[in-house]
Symmetry: C2
C-alpha cells in the first residue's frame, strides 16, 4: 500500500485473493510523481539516508491502478474514472464479487464500484457525497447474505449504518465501525452521540433493529468469525481488559497489573458539554493547590477521554508527581456526531484550543484545588501541535508546553489527512497559513520543549526544526530534544521512561515547582 | 585538495604551475576508500543529502598521487614511498625546481623530496622526525637565492628556523611561519617562547641573525612581495588593525569602529604562568560580586589570549551583560614551545581542563569580585568540547556550560588532526576512550546547552546528537539547539546575534541571575 493508504485510509495492503484462489486483485503503485523526502540518521552519518516518497499536502500522490491477475499470467486493468476518484481506499473480494471503494481527491465524494474481473469494467453500486468530507468507515463495504450492501455514512447529523442505500440506525447513535456480518445480523461498534466516552458492540437486524450486546459501561470492541463473537471490554472499575466469548466464558488474562492506579473522574462540562477527565495524586493533602497539566491529543480520529482505566496510565503517572492532570476531548474529536467532528474544517487550531481553555475553566470551577497560575500542557503528534499552539496563542492560560513530534506547519503533512481538513494548499493556502505555528513563533513567551524523533517519517523532524529556526530568528528561547533513531512513536522502553523523567524535570523547572524532598 | 589537506594541512589546492607555464603538477585524489558520511538537511526533507568522503580517525584516507602533466598531453607520475609517507602535505614549484613535502600517517616523520619532472623520480633533500609529531609550518619549504632550503622545525624545545639543515634561531624564540624570502633575508612571524600573546615580524639574515622589524607590543603579520613588506598590526591600545608599508605610510582603514569596547587586562598567572585575559563590565559597581564566564578555545593550533583588542569583542559583549569573562590559553595551545604544545599528546582532556581550573583560581585570587559560586563556561568546536568536559568532570567548579559544535567523541573527527594527538584508534583505542564525553554522560549534574549546525561537515552534528542520546539514556536533563542549514561556523548575522542572546538567556537562567530591570 502507498503511504497515505496505510497511514490515513486504513488500507494496509495492496493485494486481495479471489475467493477461489485463482486470481488476485493487485494494486500497482507508481510513486514516481511523489516528492522524495530524505530521512537521514544524523547521529550515524555513515548510514545511507532513505528516500521516502512523501505526498505532502498539495503535492502529487502516487498513481494507483488496480489489476486482476490470474494464475495463467493474464493481467486485466480495473477501469474507473481516476480523474474523478484519485484514491483507491478499499478493495473487497468475496462471494458477493469484487468491489472497490474510490474517493475523490477533495474527499467530498466516494463510490463503491462493482468490478467484472473478466473485463475490468466497473459499475457504480453506491455513491456518497458531502459538502465537507465523506468519512471512510472501518469494515465497509460489507454485504448481507442476500447481496445487499452495508455501508456507514454521515447522514442527518450522525454516522449511520446504511443498508441497501437506506439508513437503518437513528441519528442519536454514532456508528464507529462495522465489525462483521453474522448470518443476517450486522455487528457494529457504536456509541450514543451524546457520550463518546463509552463504546458498545451492537447487532443490527432487519427484525430487531439495533440492539446492544454490551450493556455495562466501558469501551468495547469485538471480533466476529463464523458463529462466534469475541468481545473485549475495558472500563473504569478494573485494570486492563476482559476478553470473553459472547455467551461463553472469559479468556484468562496474564497481563501484568499496572504499577500506576488511575485516580480519575470523568465529567461533562461547559456550554459544549466537553468530556473531561481529571486525574489527581493519590495523596493530595486537602486544601493544597495543585499545578495543572493538560494532557490532550485533541485532533481528529482519536479520543483521550474514555471510560477505560488503561487510557490514563501515563497521565496518572504525572498526577502522582503532584499535578492535577486534565484531559479533554473537544470539537474535532470523533464520536459526537458529524457537526462536532467537522467543526475543525478549514481551521485545526482555534476551535481545538478554545475547547481546551474552556475545559480548564470548567474543571477549575468544579475543583478549587486546580492552580490556574501554574498550568502546563503536553501532547504528542496532533497533541504536540496543540501544546505548542497553546503557549503561542494563550500564554495568559498556559505557562509551559511540551510538544512531542508536533506538526508545526500543515504544508509538511500528507495529502489525504491534511487536505480533508484544510483543503488543497495549491488551490487555497489561507487555511494552512492560518494554522501554521511558524508565523506565530515571535509570540512565544513561555517555556517550550520540543521533542522529535529524527527518524520520524510521518511527522518529519522538519516540523520541529523549522519551528526552532523560526524561534531562533525571532530570538525566542526554547528547547529541543532530538531523539536519534526514533520514529513517530517511542516504543523503546528506556527512551520512553527517560522521556517521562525529563518532561517532569522540565515541568517542575518551568512552573517553578519544588522537587519533592 | 582532499578534506584533510584543506582542513588540517593548510594545503587548499591540488595543482601547481611550473614557473614557465608549460607544465602542471596535479594531485590525483581518489576518495573511493574513504567512508561516505551523509550530510542531510532535516529541516528541508526534499533536499538531497550530500555524500561527503570523511576520513574519520582510524579510517582510510583518500589515495593521493601527484602527476606532472604537460601541454602536449603527456603525464608522468611522481613516485615516492606512499607506504612510508601517506600524506602529501605541500608542493612547491619555483626556480629552485619542483619539490614536495610528504608526511607519514603517524606524523612522526616528514621529508622534502626534489622531483625530476621529466621522470617523476624523487630524491630526499630534507627529513625530520620526532617521537611525538612533526609540525607542518606555513611557508615551508622555501629557498634562499643560492638554493639552500629554508624550513622550520621543533628542535631543542622550540620551533626554529632551519636553513640548509641547521637551526639558525635560538630556542627562546618560537617561529610561527615563514612569510617570505626577500633577497637573502628570510621574513618570519615569531614570538618569545615565554609570551605567546604577542607576535612579531622578524628578518633573519646570515649576517645579522634574527632581527625584529616590529618593536611595539601587539600581534603582527606581514605579506612579502618583491622588495615590499606590508605589515598588519593589532594591539590593545586601538580598535581594529593598522596596515602599513614597511618604511612607508599607513594604508587608510575604513573599518567600522566596533560598538563593543574591550575592557581587558592580560596577565600571566599560576605555576605554569598561564596567559589569562579578564574582561570586566564597564560599569561594575565596586565591591559587587560578578558571575564568571569562561570563554576559551583551549585546543591545539589556536590562541584566544592575544595582545589585540579585536580578539575580545564577543567576550566583552558578555562582560557588558554583567559577567567577569575569563579567557585562558593552557597547555596544548601554540606559541609556548614544543613541550607545551605537546602536553596534550594522548590526552586532549585532563591537562586542558586542569589549566582552565587553575586559571580560574589564579584570576579569582587576583580579583575578589569574581564569584566562584556562579561560574559558567562557553566555547565552540574544541572550546565546545572543553565546555562540556568542564561541567561533566568539574561540576564543583563549573555550574553551567554552553557547548557550540562540540567534539564529543574523537573517533568521529578526522584522521590528520586527531591521530596527531591521540594516535590511530585502530591501533590503540585507549586514548579515544579516555577523551570521549559519551562515556561520562551519566556524570552530568549541571545545565548544559549544546548548539550544533546540522550542516556541519567538519565536526558533524553526530557529536552533539550522540552525547544527547547518551544523556537521555542516563536520564540527564540537557538542552540541544540544532541549527538548520548552519555549518561549523555561523556567519549568518541574524543567527549569530540571536545565538548570543539565547546564550545569555541560558546563562542567566542557569546561574540564577536576575535580568536587568
Amino acid at each position: 500500500a502507498e503511504f497515505v493508504a496505510a497511514e490515513e485510509m486504513g488500507r494496509g495492503r495492496g493485494y486481495w485473493w479471489s475467493p477461489d484462489g485463482a486470481q488476485l486483485a493487485v494494486a500497482r503503485v507508481d510513486t514516481a510523481p511523489v516528492p522524495r523526502w530524505w530521512i537521514a540518521d544524523p547521529a550515524n552519518p555513515a548510514k545511507t539516508p532513505i528516500a521516502h516518497p512523501y505526498p505532502a499536502a498539495g503535492a502529487a500522490n502516487a498513481e494507483v491502478t488496480l489489476w486482476v491477475v490470474a494464475l495463467d499470467g493474464s493481467k486485466i486493468e480495473v477501469r474507473w474514472d481516476h480523474e474523478r476518484y484519485e484514491y483507491l481506499t478499499n478493495v473487497a473480494w468475496s462471494g458477493h464479487g469484487l468491489h472497490i471503494v474510490v474517493q475523490a481527491r477533495d474527499q467530498r465524494s466516494l463510490a463503491v464500484l462493482r468490478v467484472d474481473p473478466a473485463t475490468g469494467e466497473t459499475t457504480e453500486v453506491f455513491a456518497d457525497r458531502d459538502d465537507v468530507w465523506v468519512e471512510l468507515v472501518p469494515g465497509t463495504p460489507s454485504w448481507l447474505p442476500d447481496g445487499r450492501l452495508v455501508m456507514a455514512c454521515d447522514w442527518g447529523g450522525a454516522r449511520r449504518l446504511v443498508v441497501d442505500g437506506l439508513p437503518v440506525t437513528t441519528p442519536d447513535v454514532q456508528v464507529r465501525a462495522v465489525l462483521g456480518v453474522q448470518g443476517t445480523d450486522v455487528v457494529v461498534a457504536c456509541n450514543p452521540v451524546d457520550d463518546a466516552t463509552v463504546q458498545h458492540v451492537a447487532v443490527w437486524s432487519e427484525q430487531g433493529g439495533l440492539e446492544l450486546i454490551t450493556k455495562e459501561p466501558g469501551v468495547h470492541g469485538a471480533t466476529v468469525g463464523g458463529p462466534t463473537i469475541v468481545v473485549r471490554r475495558s472500563h473504569l472499575g478494573a485494570d486492563g481488559a476482559v476478553t470473553s466469548v459472547l455467551g461463553g466464558s472469559d479468556l484468562v488474562s496474564h497481563a501484568e497489573t499496572p504499577l500506576v492506579r488511575p485516580n480519575v473522574t470523568l465529567s461533562r462540562r461547559g456550554e459544549r458539554r466537553l468530556a473531561i477527565a481529571v486525574l489527581l495524586p493519590h495523596e493530595a493533602a486537602p486544601g493544597t493547590k495543585l499545578p495543572v497539566l493538560f494532557d490532550p491529543y485533541g485532533g481528529p480520529h482519536a479520543q483521550r477521554v474514555l471510560s477505560a482505566r488503561s487510557a490514563y496510565l501515563s497521565s496518572q503517572w504525572f498526577a502522582d508527581q503532584g499535578f492535577a492532570v486534565v484531559v479533554a476531548d473537544g470539537r474535532g474529536t470523533p464520536g459526537r456526531g458529524s457537526a462536532w467532528e467537522r467543526s475543525v474544517h478549514l481551521d485545526l487550531a482555534a476551535p481545538v484550543l478554545e475547547d481546551q481553555v474552556d475545559a480548564l475553566h470548567a474543571a477549575a470551577e468544579a475543583d478549587d484545588r486546580l492552580d490556574l497560575t501554574r498550568v502546563a500542557i503536553r501532547g504528542w503528534s496532533f497533541g504536540g501541535y496543540l501544546a505548542a499552539l497553546a503557549v503561542l496563542r494563550r500564554p495568559d492560560v498556559f505557562h509551559a508546553a511540551i510538544a512531542g513530534a508536533p506538526v508545526t506547519d500543515w504544508r509538511l503533512y500528507d495529502t489525504h489527512y491534511t487536505e480533508r481538513y484544510l483543503g488543497n494548499p495549491a488551490v487555497d493556502d489561507a487555511p494552512y497559513e492560518r494554522c501554521s505555528l511558524l508565523r506565530e513563533a515571535a509570540a512565544l513567551t513561555r517555556p517550550l520543549l520540543m521533542v522529535h524523533g529524527l527518524a520520524d517519517d510521518n511527522v518529519v523532524a522538519a516540523h520541529t526544526l523549522e519551528l526552532s529556526s523560526a524561534l531562533l530568528a525571532a530570538g525566542r528561547p526554547h528547547r529541543v530534544l532530538p531523539l536519534s533513531g526514533v520514529t513517530h512513536m517511542t516504543p523503546q522502553e528506556v527512551v520512553a521512561e527517560n522521556l517521562l523523567l525529563l518532561q517532569l524535570d522540565f515541568l517542575r523547572e518551568s512552573l517553578g515547582l519544588e522537587r519533592p524532598g
